[in-house]
Symmetry: C2
Subunit: 290 residues, 2 copies
């Protein structure tokens, strides 16, 4: 899998570079902050899912690069804004100063804003049929707006220091993390010209992968190594956050992640896609050290 | 003109209410902050321009309500983020506490983010042909992203305390204010199914209206009444900002606004639209006390 994934990852890095603006006569500092936020490493898990889903559903990975980059721009913007002093107040991201620590708070706010806009313009300008691109704008907006990622972040901020039930945690992370990961997979199917049913299957697979990913995030925050993670561990506990690991315990949380991933893989098996790159990539949500 | 404009304004308020989400099981506080930011009064200048442009170019005003609201959501998000402590640090907006003053900084950041997303989902979900909606996403993203509004705000922040030339001021405000106002008019023409040439004319009219609007903003900051404006006057001077009024002087700036508006009206006259609501509405950019 490694060579195929490495090739895809390189194509995604090239595409991100291609879609990120390089020169502005009036706002070069904004572009630097945008590029810092979007090019600062990261696993590229979401865009890889988009490209892998596209090939799984019969398309070509390169046709999915615009939605893959759009998803990554949304993800990058959310990290920049979540790290702000008024939000999670995180000085480190991926082992380096967070965007506001490096570029100042005003530019970080603007860079996040402009990365969100860039996500939509990247979708709108791609080569797919108009109906496909338009549906993609709807899928991405739904996943990242008040019902999805932004709503989940609001819930998360309001939950600090409060006890959450398991259903609350599911609702929180289904919105905050799950919706965008589900959209990443669905967009791949959409750009493969898959019908409504395979798209729904892709979304269902993606939302389980997203849930498993989040549970493992919580587990790694407790048991992980801060150097490998590139951020502080035990940060959830220190921030007074209720997580799958704190509510269920680490072992039960890990078992839950594996069982959710099993459900996800079963969905792909029913579609005959159990040996696809998408299936193997999904497994990474659980089998990872960072 | 008043009855026609009042009717249009009422239709826009209804549409904003319609498109703004009302209930969320996980993030009601986010919705309250979004509604506070988008429904807190305001002249609705941009959405009025969109609807008036749609009728001027042969469409129906109601068909332009989705792009009109999308433009207003972008405008509202930009005000929320511009008012943040790390940006212009404004406690007042339209005579009331700014969004972060009323809802806290974290919610204000998120509300701005989610309003931007809502702008794109509102465009994507409208009833126009897919090609029209997709073109609209492109126009709105271009006007509000790194090349437009966000870039202009970056330039503005970097210019505080620095002397700017007139060409610099044109570039700054062409991006910060002009691009979105030009897009407002262009989107109206687009949703009237106007061709490329009338759309370009609409955009050219809009960018002149935007420039005249900004120059008058600078003039009113010097000579206006803070109660009528709903915000502090002399704020530009106190913030060390170079404006058309400080660079040219108030009288020359006012004359410049009128001459730019003359150019704008001449464009409409050439298209036989000098008696349209759009023409009269454009005139408001100059003839106003707030």
């Amino acid at each position: 899998m490694s060579a195929e994934l490495d090739g895809l990852q390189a194509a995604i890095e090239d595409a991100l570079l291609h879609f990120l603006p390089q020169r502005s006569p009036i706002a070069q500092a904004l572009l630097e902050a945008m590029r810092y936020a979007a090019l600062g490493g990261g696993k590229r898990f979401r865009p890889l899912l988009t490209c892998a889903a596209c090939t799984a559903f019969g398309g070509r990975a390169e046709d999915a690069l615009p939605p893959a980059c759009a998803v990554e721009f949304i993800h990058a913007y959310s990290l920049v804004h979540d790290d702000l002093p008024a939000m999670d107040d995180a000085a480190l991201r991926r082992g380096a100063p967070s965007c506001h620590a490096a570029h100042g708070e005003a530019l970080a706010i603007l860079a996040g804003d402009a990365l969100q806009t860039l996500a939509f313009s990247t979708l709108a300008a791609s080569a797919a049929p108009a109906e496909t691109r338009l549906a993609a704008v709807g899928v991405l907006a739904e996943a990242s707006g008040w019902r999805g990622m932004a709503g989940g972040q609001c819930f998360d901020l309001a939950s600090v220091g409060r006890a959450l039930s398991l259903p609350d945690l599911h609702a929180l992370h289904g919105a905050k993390t799950g919706a965008l990961i589900a959209a990443s997979v669905r967009l791949g199917a959409l750009f493969a010209n898959a019908g409504e049913e395979p798209q729904a299957l892709a979304g269902a697979f993606g939302s389980r992968v997203g849930l498993a990913f989040q549970i493992m995030d919580d587990v790694l925050d407790v048991v992980g190594d801060s150097a490998t993670l590139g951020k502080s561990t035990k940060s959830d506990e220190q921030a007074g956050k209720c997580t799958f690991a704190t509510v269920m315990g680490v072992d039960a949380a890990r078992a839950k992640a594996e069982s959710v991933m099993g459900e996800a893989q079963e969905l792909l098996r029913q579609a005959g896609l159990q040996h696809s790159l998408l299936a193997r990539l999904g497994g990474r949500a659980v089998n990872r050290s960072h």
